[in-house]
Structures are given as structure tokens and as C-alpha cells.
């Protein structure tokens, strides 16, 4: 897999090297104000039927719901826009296909991606800057409408390597959340969620139960992935990036997270997942805390063997830093085609992320809505008040969330973090050694991708 990823990285580099840089995606910042002052491609009027293709990653029931919403848009937009959705696998598979399509000149007009992939595509000069569309007096968003979208969502679509311009738009958003089995918490004698990592560790340790055969049958925590690690760094007062070429997690905050995990593994109060099996441990009632994506809620519920009272809450902190978490998920980028097609994709994005649609999509998919006003939607309110209380709990964490940087090379940084965690988890390296290696690899990756 690593070989494959490395190959794609090289290919991405070659794509970039062989393609002339686009004026809309050049490395130097462009004065954004001019976009709204003079007519651009974003200000045209759609006069005839326009069909655009959107490569997406929604499958199964979500795909059905997504396609139904697209049908609704196609029949109701009144501008002759027809969006043709095409499922192309997961993010990695879409990325593979995009690399080929860039060379073949057959990219779709819209594509679902994660931010660092968009940064790669932008290097090949195929991505349309969205600031003119957002700011267009004719086709853009009003200041109120823009303000209604959570700032972290907008921020994650700004690309520092491209003058902080907006090159994508939020599509499916999730958060790294802390899940707790409230029944078990109560059973252990606690009446509140842990506020600090020290409390969290103490509670987790207390949750451990060893069976007659000496094997652990109940654990305190599961789910130390890259996002949980970064959330831990932030809530200990650290940062994700110090500068464009230097990560911020290589200091004391990152080390404290790994050391906590090391203790957790050695003292066996952490459950080490083999995949999504931690959901089953949680569903059995044998796991006190779990960190994972907020979008996994339906899977958690499906794993319940008996009704469990459970909640989502914000990450513990070091006692002084504010509670924060990491948000992630897919975005949609518009590729360079004709002004009409580019605008057509934008019209769809605008529609899909308005309050009514984002609320509807949230009920359907368990992804987070992108707008604050979605909370006023009756269907979402009812859903979150009833069967999916945890959805509202996750949504409350959005304003204080932060995204991973939208830069080229970020995937390699995540891989380096993951490798460090795995080495600690498998007791192959001490936290300080694994963190030092991860930091070096991450910084190298950032430098190489400048």
C-alpha cells in the first residue's frame, strides 16, 4: 500500500511538473477584492441547458439519498442545470482516477476529495478558485448566508499554498468525537465527563476489568488515531503547524499524548482495535470511552447488544487550553471547464449547502450540517431530539473544531503520525523516539511539497 501511495505521490508530482501552472492557482497570492469588483466567469447568466458530471464517494443508502437530492435539484433549479452523479469509490480511488483523468484531459466538472488532494489537483492547474463565485453579487452568497456557514468549514477550504484562496467547498463533514458509555461511567462512580486528560486517564484505568483467565474483558478507551492525537495536541495547548514547513505536534504536547497512550497500552486499559471492532466492544458495554468519527453513530447503534445510554462530548484538555477537536471529511472542487459548467457546479453546491438541504442531508447521512441555521429545520430538530441525540452533541462541537491543514503533503504527515502511534501501540518504540521520527518525516514531507 505504501508503495502504491508513493507511486501516486510521484505521479502527482509528474502531473504537476508536466502541466502548465494556472493563473487561478499560482503560488503567489492574488488580490481577492478584485474578484467582486469586476465581472468574472462567476457573474455570467446561465442561458441554456448545462450538464455537469460529479464524481463522488457516496455508496449504498447514502448514494440513493444523495442521488434523489440531485434529482430534486435537477428538476427544480430553473437554470437548466443537470448534475450527473457518478460513484467512483472511496477518496483514494477517486484520487487515482483523477490522476489518470488529469493526464487524459477527462476530469469531471466536479469532484469530491479531501483537502490535500485538492491541493495536488490545483498544482496541475485544473481547479477553479471559488472566491469569485462566493463573492459574486449575482450568483454568490450574501454576507449573512456566508456567515451562517461555520467558519472552520470555510477555513478548511482555504489553501495556504495558493494564496489562502478557497479552492473547494464543504460537502460531507465529520468530527473526531469522544464517545462515552454513560451507564458504565455511572457504575464507576462518576457523575460528569472528564474535563482533563488526567481525569480521563484515571477513569479509563478504573474501567479495566480482568477475567478469571487473566485476560482483559473491559477497557477504558479505544481509538487513538491521527485525528485523536491531533485533537489531543490542541487541547494540551499545542498546535498542528508551526510554519508551512514545520509541524507543531513534535513538542511536549504530542509527547504527552503518546506517553498517555503508552501507559494505556502497557497497563492494558486501552482496547487495540483491529478495524471497526471497537464499535462492537462499545456496543457490548465493555468500553468506557472511544474516539472516532461523529459519522459512525449509526454503526455504533447497530452494534448495541442491549440498550446503552451513551453520549458524545468534547475532548478533555490540560486544564488551561480550551476543548477543541478535529473536523474532516469530503469537499467538492470545481474543475476548469467552461464558465457555464463551472457556474453550474457552483449552483449545485450553493443549493446543496443551503439550510434546508444540509439539514436534510444530515438526517439522511449522519454527517454534520454545514450551516448554523440548519438547527432550525424541523426535521433535523426532531431527529436530533429523538433517535439521534448524539448528532446534536457532535454539532455543538463544530464551532470550536479545527481542520487539518489544506496543504500538499498532509496525507504523508498523517501517515507519519499513524506510524508513530502504531509503534507505540505495538511497543516497538518509546513515545519520544516514535514522535521524533514522525516529526522528522512530517517536516520532510512538508518541505518536499512546498
Amino acid at each position: 500500500m505504501r508503495k502504491l501511495l508513493a507511486l501516486f505521490a510521484v505521479t502527482a508530482f509528474l502531473v504537476a511538473a508536466c502541466t502548465p501552472a494556472s493563473p487561478t492557482t499560482g503560488a503567489s497570492p492574488a488580490p481577492q477584492a478584485t474578484a467582486t469588483e469586476q465581472a468574472t466567469d462567476a457573474d455570467i447568466t446561465l442561458s441554456g441547458p448545462v450538464q455537469v458530471t460529479l464524481w463522488h464517494n457516496q455508496s449504498g443508502a447514502l448514494a440513493k439519498g444523495f442521488e434523489e437530492m440531485i434529482k430534486e435539484f435537477n428538476s427544480s433549479n430553473g437554470k437548466g442545470v443537470t448534475v450527473k452523479p457518478e460513484f467512483q469509490g472511496n477518496y483514494t480511488q477517486i484520487y487515482q482516477k483523477m490522476l489518470g483523468a488529469i493526464q487524459a484531459g477527462t476530469v469531471p466538472e466536479g469532484v469530491v476529495a479531501v483537502e490535500n488532494q485538492v491541493a495536488d489537483y490545483a498544482r496541475a492547474g485544473i481547479i477553479v478558485e471559488m472566491d469569485p463565485y462566493i463573492n459574486s453579487k449575482k450568483n454568490g452568497l450574501s454576507p449573512e448566508s456566508l456567515k451562517d456557514i461555520y467558519q472552520p468549514y470555510i477555513d478548511s477550504n482555504r489553501y495556504p499554498q495558493y494564496g489562502d484562496r478557497i479552492l473547494s467547498f464543504p460537502f460531507i463533514k465529520s468530527l473526531e468525537v469522544m464517545m462515552v458509555n454513560e451507564d458504565l461511567l455511572k457504575e464507576l462512580g462518576y457523575s460528569a465527563h472528564p474535563k482533563t486528560w488526567a481525569e480521563f486517564e484515571e477513569m479509563s484505568r478504573k474501567a479495566k476489568v480482568v477475567g478469571a483467565d487473566g485476560k482483559v474483558t473491559r477497557w477504558g478507551w479505544a481509538g487513538m488515531g491521527s485525528e485523536a492525537f491531533l485533537a489531543g495536541v490542541l487541547t494540551r495547548g499545542g498546535s498542528i503547524l508551526k510554519s508551512p514547513t514545520e509541524v507543531g505536534f513534535g513538542g511536549a504536547e504530542g509527547l504527552e499524548m503518546l506517553q498517555m497512550y503508552d501507559r494505556c497500552i502497557k497497563e492494558e486499559f486501552c482496547y487495540v482495535p483491529k478495524g471497526f471492532d471497537w464499535q462492537d466492544r462499545f456496543g457490548e458495554g465493555n468500553l468506557l470511552f472511544a474516539t472516532g468519527t461523529s459519522t459512525g453513530r449509526p454503526f455504533i447503534k447497530a452494534a448495541f447488544k442491549k440498550p446503552i445510554n451513551w453520549s458524545l462530548f468534547g475532548m478533555p484538555t490540560n486544564g488551561t487550553a480550551p476543548s477543541r477537536t478535529i473536523q474532516f471529511g469530503g469537499v467538492i472542487a470545481i474543475t476548469r471547464s467552461t464558465p457555464e459548467k463551472q457556474l453550474a457546479v457552483w449552483e449545485f453546491l450553493k443549493w446543496f449547502t443551503d439550510a434546508k438541504q444540509t439539514a436534510k442531508w444530515s438526517v439522511l447521512s449522519s454527517y454534520m450540517p454545514v450551516r448554523a441555521s440548519a438547527l432550525e429545520d424541523a426535521a433535523l430538530k426532531a431527529h436530533w431530539a429523538g433517535p439521534d441525540v448524539q448528532g446534536a452533541q457532535a454539532f455543538a462541537l463544530v464551532p470550536t473544531s479545527a481542520a487539518g491543514p489544506s496543504i500538499r503533503g498532509w496525507q504523508e504527515v498523517r501517515d507519519a503520525i499513524f506510524e508513530a502511534i502504531t509503534k507505540v501501540q505495538t511497543k516497538k518504540e518509546a513515545p519520544d523516539t516514535s514522535l521524533a521520527t514522525a516529526t522528522r518525516k512530517a517536516n520532510d514531507s512538508l518541505k518536499e511539497n512546498q
Binding site: 505521479t11 464517494n57 449504498g60 467512483q88 480511488q93 482516477k97 489518470g100 483523468a101 493526464q103 456496543g283
Partner: protein, 278 residues
């Protein structure tokens, strides 16, 4: 029978049974998991036998939204049949030429052919995609899923070994009777290498049946996509519905299992004679 011989036989059988169990276990796991509940499918320690048999899983997997099973089966069958037939034709002709015909540069050419086996498929993925979509305009077509697989170096290599083992005397006798290369190939050599032909056909059929990444890359409509791509929707970034995925995997594997059971004698014979191991 002396006890030592008996013990050796028993040990041999024990090892073989262990190997058989090890090989069969993934199939057993797949089928039983397809009848488990969502929770049981990923429980730890693993549950070997479903507590409650969820027969409805198969119906749910079959009716899984956006999955066109019947169409995908038909597509896969068509693609696998045509590409297998095509591979047989090209491989037989090329292998025969390399084995039985004398021409300048034969060994060098064959060595070059063999070298292509060592190029990782990941390295050719994007150039092939560009060729198929940009230069041939075959994006989202059946031919994009068939034509690149109409020739197989491995099949040529396999058949060449068989053609080389056909006695020269037979060819000489055929020549005396007035048979040229085509007549000799058709009437004498091919019947003699039937196990190898079946092996090549089976290997290519299975490769085509199991093909996933390439069809995903070169197609966009579920209407022309093969069966392996139909399994993708059971997994998402938030979790995997293992019980339904295993039910889907069982649907997918059943036809190949039937084909294998019918042709296994030839398959084993063909593999054994070339000394190839899996």
C-alpha cells in the same frame, strides 16, 4: 502394514487435512458471517457459528441500494468470457510460435515478453488509463474492460512450456502428411495441451472475474460495471457492514466455485505439469 508406514501415512494425512482446513476456513468464515448479525460479524473473540441465523442478510445484500446485481453478474460473465476466449487465441498463437517455430530473435523477444511480467501493475495503471480514455475514447465502455486483457504473457509462457513438450516426431510425421503449422497446431498440438488450455482459461476467467481497480477506473456507470465493484458500497469511511459484505462476497464467489469444481481435474493437471505453484 508396518506401524512406521502407518504413522507416516497418518502424519501426511494430518498435514493435508490441516492444509485443507486452513484453505477452506476463509470460505467457511465468509458464508457463516453472511448469516450473522451486524454486531456478531465483528465481535471479538470471533463467533464461529451464528447464534441466530439471519437469512434476511442475503435479501438485504441483494437489494442493497444502488447495487445492480443481475446486471453486474451479466457484465462480469460477458467480460470474463470474451477476454478469456481472446486470451486463449492470442496465447495459443504466440506460445506456439515461441515453442515450435524457428525465427531470428525468438529468444530475445520471448525474454522481453517475460520481462513485462516484472513491471508492477501500479506503474502501468495511469498510462493505460490515458491510452484507453484519451487516445482510444473507450471510457465507460465494455471494450475498455476487455481489450487490455486479450493478451497475457503469463498464459503465453505457460502454453509455451506445454507446446515445447510435444514430441518433435509428431510434428515431423504431420509435416510428412502435408500438415503445415496451422494444421499441426489445430489437429495435433492443441488436443495434447488441453489441460494447459483449461488452466489458462480458468486463470484468466478468475482474474477477469476478480478484477476491481481497473474497471472502477475506466467506467462510470453501474450499468456496465462488473461484480467486484458492486461490493464497494458495503464499506464506508465510518464503518463496514461485514455481514452484508460477506453475503455479497458469497454471491460473487459462487459462480467461480462452480466453474472450478467442474474443471478442477484439468486445472490441477495443468498446474502440476508446468511445475507452477500458487
Amino acid at each position: 502394514m508396518p506401524p512406521r508406514v502407518l504413522a507416516a501415512g497418518a502424519l501426511k494425512h494430518l498435514i493435508l487435512v490441516a492444509g485443507a482446513v486452513l484453505t477452506a476456513f476463509p470460505f467457511y468464515w465468509m458464508v457463516t458471517t453472511s448469516f450473522k448479525s451486524f454486531a456478531e460479524a465483528q465481535s471479538y473473540p470471533p463467533v464461529l457459528w451464528p447464534t441466530v441465523w439471519h437469512f434476511e442478510n442475503w435479501q438485504q445484500a441483494w437489494e442493497f441500494p444502488t447495487t445492480l446485481w443481475a446486471r453486474s453478474f451479466a457484465n462480469t460473465l460477458g467480460i470474463a468470457a470474451v477476454s478469456t476466449l481472446g486470451t486463449l487465441v492470442t496465447a495459443v498463437l504466440a506460445a506456439y510460435a515461441f515453442a515450435r517455430m524457428r525465427f531470428r530473435g525468438r529468444n530475445v523477444l520471448f525474454a522481453i515478453f517475460l520481462l513485462t511480467i516484472f513491471i508492477p501493475s501500479e506503474a502501468t495503471l495511469i498510462p493505460n488509463f490515458v491510452l484507453i480514455t484519451k487516445y482510444l475514447g473507450w471510457y465507460n465502455t465494455y471494450q475498455a474492460q476487455i481489450v487490455p486483457f486479450l493478451a497475457s504473457v503469463f498464459s503465453i509462457f505457460l502454453l509455451r512450456q506445454f507446446f515445447m513438450s510435444v514430441p518433435q516426431e509428431l510434428q515431423d510425421a504431420a509435416r510428412i502428411d502435408g500438415a503445415g503449422h496451422v494444421r499441426f497446431l489445430w489437429s495435433v498440438a492443441l488436443p495434447l495441451v488441453r489441460p494447459a488450455l483449461i488452466t489458462v482459461a480458468l486463470l484468466n476467467f478468475l482474474a477477469s472475474w476478480n478484477s476491481f481497480l481497473w474497471p472502477l477506473l475506466v467506467t462510470s456507470s453501474p450499468e456496465i460495471r462488473p461484480i467486484q465493484v458492486a461490493l464497494v458500497p458495503f464499506s464506508s469511511e465510518a464503518g463496514t457492514q461485514y455481514h452484508l459484505l460477506m453475503a455479497g462476497a458469497t454471491f460473487v464467489i459462487l459462480p467461480t466455485l462452480v466453474v472450478y469444481l467442474i474443471a478442477q481435474r484439468y486445472f490441477i493437471e495443468g498446474v502440476a505439469r508446468t511445475g507452477i505453484r500458487g
